[in-house]
């Protein structure tokens, strides 16, 4: 008999969950969806911590081995209380993704308010202070992240606007990280698949010889609610709006109790992938909007899956049915 866990390409760390609310030194509701990076041998996770009042802040976790984390006593970034971002962060800051481009550490996060979720950009040198650079999208947008280098001389980002009631992954370009344009749709939901309802960018794409390898999340809607799973896609190196291959199966699906049960049940939500020197890939993910976990695989396996299993991208302009969204 094949273990259900073996269906997932990603292998869960036996010590999961890595971080739960009990590990946070200040009172909170949950911790999930942390942006992670490895700099000078040190693993850093910018944790999304949802306070008991209901809005989210960022806390900092550091580790030398990527498994045992120490968490700072107080949040490192909280919603702006003055300046132009104040009104756009009154409902919290969410889902940070960290990208180092040309030596600068960028954080793309969701600024949340009654005006709707917007993508916002910040930079940091030490993860203790953050400089905000303002909104970089219209409202109604989430799951943004920067590519780790310029492509064709321009910065590139993924994001997830809702168009025609469907959440798709789009790519957008910028010369200066302030003004954005040339937006194009890249990855759409696939009817009948595990990612039939909605997709969004998850991890900063990894540059390989074959193309940009990107781990994304896909949602299937059921009568009991959504199921969030993770998949993998390969994009053209020169033009990341072109999908070369896309896995037909997820690489991680909610199975463990900590993924099945929580504030939002049945969620695995990768938010960072770190490639080790030996080709191991560590994927940090939020579980059930209640914990931070890690699972590992190798570049070799990811590339093999996306190539072997890769489905060609849906034809541009092909019609797909709308699914009800509320």
């Amino acid at each position: 008999m094949v273990s259900l866990l073996e269906q997932d390409l990603l292998e869960r760390y036996e010590g999961n969950p890595l971080i739960t609310a009990a590990d946070i030194p200040f009172t909170c509701n949950t911790v999930f969806n942390g942006g992670a990076t490895k700099l000078n041998g040190q693993y850093t996770i910018l944790l999304r911590v949802e306070g008991q009042h209901g809005y989210s802040v960022f806390a900092l976790a550091r580790s030398s081995d990527g498994y045992d984390f120490e968490i700072e006593r107080l949040p490192v970034m909280t919603p702006a209380t003055e300046g132009p971002m104040e009104k756009y962060e009154v409902a919290g800051i969410e889902d940070p993704r960290i990208t180092v481009v040309d030596g600068t550490t960028y954080i793309v996060y969701t600024a949340f308010s009654g005006y709707g979720p917007c993508m916002a950009l910040a930079t940091t040198e030490d993860f203790s202070s953050f400089e905000r650079h303002g909104l970089i999208s219209e409202p109604g947008n989430k799951d943004g992240l920067l590519f780790p280098r310029k492509v064709g001389g321009r910065y590139v980002r993924f994001d997830r606007p809702i168009g025609n009631d469907i959440g798709r992954i789009w790519v957008t370009f910028s010369d200066d990280l302030r003004y954005w344009g040339d937006s194009r749709v890249v990855i759409s939901p696939r009817p009948g698949y595990w990612d039939s309802y909605r997709v969004g960018a998850s991890c900063v794409p990894i540059e390989t010889e074959s193309g940009w390898l990107a781990i994304y999340h896909g949602v299937k809607m059921t009568s009991g609610g959504p199921i969030y799973r993770a998949g993998v896609v390969l994009l053209d190196l020169q033009d990341p709006s072109v999908v070369i291959a896309r896995s037909s199966v997820p690489i991680l699906a909610p199975r463990m109790e900590y993924e099945r049960v929580g504030d939002v049940c049945n969620v695995v939500f990768p938010s960072a992938a770190i490639v080790e020197d030996d080709g191991q890939v560590r994927v940090y993910y939020g579980a059930a909007d209640t914990a931070i976990c890690v699972a590992t695989t190798t570049m070799e396996k990811l590339l093999a899956l996306v190539h072997k299993d890769g489905e060609p991208a849906p034809a541009p302009g092909s019609r797909r049915p709308s699914y009800p969204v509320d």
Partner: protein, 320 residues
């Protein structure tokens, strides 16, 4: 900021915008071809001639933009072929599979910039086109992600940058953003929001591209109130600070135009007046507002700048 006008004569009344007696000026039957609907029109006075860019839905159900012209602004000749129809190839094609619509025209340094909607399975996006003479319209770029609508360029730079107003679907608010090259946009900020309990309770959006007046940027906008029978679309007015349009210096607390005539009440979308363009008549000192009614015809209404200022002034005082 607003010019002070004597207030004793100000009356908040219905139907501030005066309807042209022979409305509607363009009906389905006036078109030289069969069509399902007439939605609305961008408007401009070019070399003494009135030009309308009308959104017309064909029998299959998607929209294209048609040109109409007139010497007096009342009697229009409508061309048989669209001046802008969904792109069939190139980068615009996959975003226009379900139509192009809602052209809003801004004259900027001798070039007419047209912001229109590209509609597809991917949602509504803003697209920019340009022309100098309306003989042909050249596409420039898609300038937003989905879903956003109701956008127009300001007719001059603000703080050294191009600026536009738009209405992202999320939240139903009017936003501003800026650009240095018209292709890449940033620095988004909210300008105006719906007002609970008012006629513009549920969502708002830009109607007519900004017009510079001594009191600041004049914008006509539409406001929607949802009722059990469906949405009510009405027209309002606001003035924005000339240097910093995020500052709303005056806003009418009443609608200037609300569906009441039969052609505004009854049509494919009932109870709807919706404008995308207006012409300033320097002879009469009035704004000539072209508006779509019930998604079925184009109408004309006029209102003076004085009246618009006084209404905003009176509204603001009442709010105080």
């Amino acid at each position: 900021m607003l010019l002070l006008m004597p207030l004793k004569h100000v009356k908040l009344q219905r139907n501030v915008v005066r309807r042209w007696q022979k409305n509607p000026i363009i009906r389905l039957g006036d078109l030289p071809f069969h069509a399902a609907d007439i939605h609305n029109a961008g408007a401009v006075l070019h070399k003494g001639r009135y030009i309308l860019l009308i959104t017309i839905e064909n029998l299959q159900g998607y929209c294209s933009i048609y040109r109409a012209h007139s010497d007096d602004g009342r009697h229009f000749e409508i061309e048989k072929e669209p001046v802008l129809s969904p792109a069939e190839e190139g980068p615009f094609a996959q975003y226009e599979t379900e139509g192009v619509r809602d052209a809003r025209i801004t004259l900027f340094d001798g070039v007419y910039y047209i912001v229109y909607l590209a509609q597809s399975e991917h949602g509504f996006r803003l697209a920019l086109a340009q022309t100098e003479d309306f003989a042909s319209i050249e596409r420039v770029a898609l300038i937003s992600e989905p879903d956003t609508k109701n956008a127009a360029l300001f007719p001059r730079k603000i703080g050294g940058r191009y600026a536009r107003l738009e209405r992202p679907r999320e939240g139903g608010n009017i936003w501003i953003s800026y650009s240095e090259d018209l292709l890449n946009w940033g620095d988004w900020d909210v300008v105006m929001t719906p007002r609970g309990g008012y006629w513009d309770h549920d969502r708002i959006g830009l109607s007519v591209p900004p017009i510079l007046t001594p009191c600041g940027w004049l914008i006509f906008y539409y406001g929607v109130k949802n009722t059990p029978g469906g949405p009510l679309f009405r027209l309002g007015v606001a003035f924005l600070n000339e240097e910093d349009p995020v500052e709303v210096v005056g806003r009418s607390n009443i609608p200037l135009l609300a569906p009441s005539e039969t052609y505004e009440r009854i049509g494919d979308v009932q109870n709807l007046v919706f404008s995308c363009g207006a012409v300033t008549n320097t002879k009469t000192g009035k704004v000539e507002l072209y508006y779509g009614a019930s998604d079925s015809c184009i109408c004309l209404g006029t209102v003076s700048f004085d009246t618009l200022e006084r209404i905003c002034r009176a509204s603001t005082l009442q709010e105080d």
